[in-house]
Subunit: 407 residues, 2 copies
């Protein structure tokens, strides 16, 4: 029944934004080397021992026992409701005013980003992102047919002064200002940079001045290993301009696929309209039960300690094995270190050699909306143990030295 060549039979029926992305997976470079016997530093996977499995099994049994007629029902039971309150309470603890805001649970952080985009974005709108920024968010934005404008990211995160210049120039030239500015304020993916409070304040003020929404993606905010927390943008925002997205993926496990959006109460209805279908009340109930009695907080404390050690060991490995001409960031939290290789070394081209040497990573160019980051790469210290990590960085050092010798 199948034709020999069916390729493209449905292309003319597809939405244009989907058609434009065919054949261009952002994970392409990684996919090609995924089977290699190489140390995996590509992705921000939590380490395998980090999942609180026994407690989650016990929580599952408990909620099914206690409200078995409702856990699996549409809407869920009291535990599913309690999870929103739990998220709200923790946001309150971080200084966010929950009087004028509501919590909407989502099927993970990316679903949260997509829901916010569904609510606000139309083809032709402009979205500002940092360069570099989380490639998953770039993929989401691209699916809305919007214009992506990029602003540099430096060692303190999004360059808000550069954004301000851009906005002023847009207004001066009579161009439409952005609908949305996307920012990962803490331990940014991919650089690990944290936006200081003054930049946050300025960004929130600009949102009001130039009439845009700030999409604050704080997937890593709870995983700080050094220094004092900086207030969330939502805590600095008195006008409801900041829409904040969070997730349990890094603090319980990606498999729970549960996140949230905290937004001005006036956005509750638009976000509800924008979110297609319900969320997973089974998982929400299990997480809420698990989070009772401070177990979630205790787990986050344990994770901070474990990831903090990994971060220290990662930086030590880099100092040991990388050539002097390479540079890298020193993140206060999160999962990632961003490495800048000597000019002229292309991290995407280097990937194959690196895999042969025994390590894989994500090339920096993947995190740029347009050109950029060719001599950069992202590694994660979250997944492999420190011995494997060190072996991986040793391999990376060999690959980089080889490329430098060939220059």
């Amino acid at each position: 029944m199948a034709d020999d060549d069916r390729s493209g039979r449905f292309d003319h029926l597809l939405a244009g934004t989907v058609r434009d992305q065919l054949g261009g997976s952002p994970y392409g470079a990684w996919r090609s080397v995924r089977d290699a016997d190489a140390v995996q530093l590509s992705f921000g996977f939590p380490f395998p021992e980090s999942f609180p499995n026994d407690e989650l099994a016990a929580a599952t049994a408990a909620v099914l026992e206690r409200e078995g007629d409702r856990v699996m029902q549409y809407g869920g039971g009291e535990y599913a409701d309690a999870l929103s309150d739990f998220v709200a309470d923790r946001a309150s603890d971080r200084g966010i005013d929950l009087e004028s805001r509501t919590v909407s649970l989502t099927n993970g952080a990316t679903d949260g980003l997509a829901t916010v985009c569904d609510a606000f974005l139309e083809p032709g709108d402009t979205v500002v992102v940092g360069a570099p920024t989380f490639m998953g968010a770039l993929t989401v934005f691209r699916s809305y047919g919007v214009e992506l404008e990029s602003v540099p990211v430096d060692e303190s995160g999004l360059d808000v002064a550069a954004l301000e210049d851009r906005l002023a120039s847009m207004r001066e030239r009579g161009l439409a200002t952005p609908t949305m500015v996307y920012v990962v304020p803490n331990f940014q993916n991919p650089t690990g940079a944290t936006l200081p409070e003054d930049r946050r304040e300025r960004l929130v003020a600009l949102a009001e001045e130039y009439d845009f929404v700030v999409l604050e993606d704080d997937a890593y905010g709870e995983l700080r290993y050094d220094g004092d927390p900086v207030p969330p943008l939502a805590a600095l925002d008195e006008r409801g301009r900041v829409v904040r997205v969070g997730t349990f993926s890094k603090t319980i496990g990606p498999g729970v696929r549960t996140g949230w959006v905290i937004a001005d109460e006036e956005l509750e209805e638009p976000l509800k309209i924008a979110s297609a279908g319900g969320t997973n009340t089974f998982t929400q109930s299990v997480v809420a039960r698990y989070a009772e009695d401070g177990r979630y907080d205790a787990n986050v404390r344990d994770l901070r300690e474990a990831y903090g050690e990994r971060r220290d060991e990662a930086l030590a490995s880099l100092s040991r094995h990388m050539p002097a001409d390479a540079d890298w960031t020193d993140p206060d939290g999160g999962f990632f270190v961003w490495i800048t290789l000597p000019e002229g070394i292309d991290a995407e081209r280097l990937l194959e050699t690196a895999a042969e040497e025994g390590v894989v990573y994500l090339p920096g160019s993947m995190f740029y909306p347009e050109e950029g980051g060719e001599n950069c790469l992202r590694i994660s210290f979250s997944y492999v143990d420190s011995e494997a990590f060190d072996r991986g960085i040793e391999a990376l050092g060999r690959a980089v030295r080889g490329a430098m010798a060939d220059q």
Copy 2:
């Protein structure tokens, strides 16, 4: 900090399709009476004792024990993978050729519908739906800014001959033919009607002739209480025109929020691009483990028996209590009966009286893309026990007789 009247502050920033839906919840009429002390016949909720809680708790413990390092990880483990195979095997059993098709797991059926819409729909496209049809699908379609064309639904479901006339007329007038035709072939929501095989064959042929995609929503297909199964549209389709959506919401529980899309292998990449974010590998693993050893099939057999009895009792209640001038459908499966009241009785206006009498339902107009169904209503026999159901129908009978007397 909050203004006294903040209403509409963000409206100008919202996407137009979202702005257009503000204030117009399809559940509005139901919401206003949800707190009434009335028998709940509005929604297709599974009955509370139907959930296999003990087995799900055991499955959770087992998967976390057996592959605890992967269940909660990105991508999941072997059980999460196994669920796609399980879905594929069951589709094969129903005559669907899985050689040329792939299974994509989703966060429930509505997420599946939205993913398919994301892949295909653009503002201005035309989507054909039955009138009446599932209101949740109407809500999804409306969010894409598409034109909704309706074709009548009769006692055998979608009137495919009427669709053919419409398509021929569109072509003749030089109008763009639809991108998609949406159909619930088995025990249709809301009428309970099942599309006969000849209509299915014709619909699949029309899809090829007029170059559209058939979105087959088979949420209820496994819950047949009488008669022989009719082949799924996907089983009659040799050209990959049918995209099939299913769910575990009715056969395990809505809380698992896990569904699937079965589509031509050429659509795997577009659907992946269209689906924002991952799916819930924790739940998928639990469901896959639960489904091992025929437990899912045994559960479906039990559900068929239990719902079949409910259906019989529901029809008996209707015969006992409804006035002779009312008419209702006699579904072979699913959760719903569609009631047609005497002309001139408005089911939406009647709802308040009915709630006072002691029953709530969904007004028929909710299931029409435009006008229609004013004297119709949908009830579900899936949720309340037969005693409560009977009390509810008795109340409905009183309300209808009262309205007839007032005419």
